[in-house]
């Protein structure tokens, strides 16, 4: 593999990423501060979600882990979990679109929400489309020679990392609704698509275990695949719990049933 492009631009490459991440965190904090003047105080937990989300994405694209990932498949897979699964989940929990909508002027935020309601975005944010982009992209990356070519071209390298992140984020927000979503689909539909997506993720992990991507030694493929499988499980558990908790909150019994229950309890000996 040829990593020369990384060595020569290593410093500036990392520097740009750090600067960009610091900027993203600063913008989020500023937006929250500004909109706090007009609306109720932005929850503290969301600042943490945003900061850790940006940090875990940053760890995957720059710094020691990202450098190690160029030669070590296990490190690459750790980066993949951070960039494609953990960062999207944390960032989604930070509700950036809600923040943006309440920070912008009324006119711009109306324009933005009109854009979010548009047909192309509805198709894009459907769980099935999001799954195809997310998991389908991974199948193409690891089962063709794209993985090898990614290490030979900086442009391709950056493009693939951006895709992994964006597709992961799109998938997350297509299943878990934190920000207001104008194209809601049923819990059942999302549950089915989610199970299929997670299954496809596990199947790909076991496939990589026995069929290493081009240029990856078998032993690295085996440890990397196990990390993908079990590391993925760990994030999936959190993901599914949030999803089910949202269902639990949404289906809470109506008041009348509650009152009924009280009368039954009062009548029973």
């Amino acid at each position: 593999m040829n990593h020369n492009h990384m060595d020569t631009v290593g410093f500036s490459y990392d520097f740009i990423w750090i600067l960009l991440c610091a900027l993203l965190i600063a913008l989020y904090f500023m937006a929250a501060r500004i909109s706090n003047r007009q609306y109720r105080s932005w929850p503290l937990s969301r600042y943490f979600f945003w900061t850790f989300g940006v940090a875990s994405a940053a760890a995957a694209v720059g710094g020691p882990l990202a450098n190690l990932a160029l030669t070590d498949f296990k490190a690459h897979m750790a980066g993949h979990l951070l960039l494609g699964m953990l960062a999207p989940l944390l960032l989604a929990l930070a509700a950036p679109m809600t923040l943006l909508l309440r920070t912008l002027s009324l006119r711009s935020s109306r324009r933005l929400s009109r854009l979010l309601k548009s047909r192309p975005l509805r198709i894009l944010s459907d769980p099935v489309t999001a799954t195809l982009l997310n998991i389908g992209g991974l199948y193409i990356l690891y089962t063709t020679d794209l993985f090898l070519r990614m290490h030979e071209s900086l442009t391709l390298h950056i493009f693939i990392h951006i895709h992994v992140f964006l597709a992961g984020y799109l998938f997350t927000i297509s299943i878990i609704y934190i920000d207001p979503s104008s194209h809601r689909t049923s819990y059942r539909y999302r549950a089915v698509v989610c199970i299929l997506a997670l299954a496809a993720h596990g199947i790909l992990a076991k496939y990589i275990y026995s069929h290493p991507p081009a240029g990856v030694p078998l032993i690295q493929a085996e440890t990397g695949a196990k990390l993908m499988y079990y590391g993925g499980d760990l994030i999936e558990i959190v993901f599914i719990t949030i999803f089910c908790f949202q269902w639990y909150k949404a289906t809470r019994p109506r008041k009348s049933v509650q009152m009924n229950k009280v009368t039954i309890d009062a009548e029973s000996p």
Binding site: I195, A199, G202, Y248
Partner: protein, 159 residues
């Protein structure tokens, strides 16, 4: 409580138990047999393609089933509609069916992996599948009982 709602709650008790049982057996399989005992292997070279797909699907499904079933359980509780006997019957039925599927189709037909990599694996297979059948039968008995003789708690909620 509106008695018209009862049949649907009765189904939901069974469904929640069934999903939880399925997920629980999947969870035990993963933690005890894969991670603690190291009897099961992560990957067996003789696995068929369909075996790989079946394993991936059930692995993802069992996580979802476990967590989802517990939230369904909590939902039934807050509605005062929990039927413990029926729920446990569902657990045994779901767990038993998944264990039997795992022990016959996944281990033997799709050759996903064996229970343990030893000479007399047939003994392990017999214990595994007999346990599964026993769980299924016990589950059916509990489910039928909960219909015929609702427990005191069940009765109280159904009245």
């Amino acid at each position: 409580m509106d008695s018209a709602l009862i049949p649907s709650y009765s189904r939901r008790n069974l469904g929640s138990g069934f999903l939880f049982g399925l997920g629980l057996v999947g969870f035990i399989d993963e933690t005890v047999f894969h991670q603690l005992l190291h009897w099961h292997h992560f990957y067996d070279k003789s696995t068929s393609d369909i075996g790989l797909v079946s394993d991936g699907f059930f692995h993802a499904f069992s996580w979802f089933a476990t967590i989802g079933a517990l939230f369904m359980f909590a939902d039934l509780r807050r509605r005062n509609a929990l039927m413990p006997t029926r729920w446990w019957g569902g657990v045994l039925l779901g767990g038993g069916i998944f264990q039997l599927y795992d022990g016959t189709i996944q281990h033997k037909l799709m050759r996903l992996h064996q229970i343990r990599y030893v000479d007399n694996v047939i003994a392990y297979d017999i214990v595994w599948n007999v346990t599964a059948i026993a769980m299924i039968l016990a589950g059916i008995v509990l489910i039928l009982q909960s219909r015929k003789y609702p427990s005191k708690r069940d009765l109280q909620h159904e009245s």
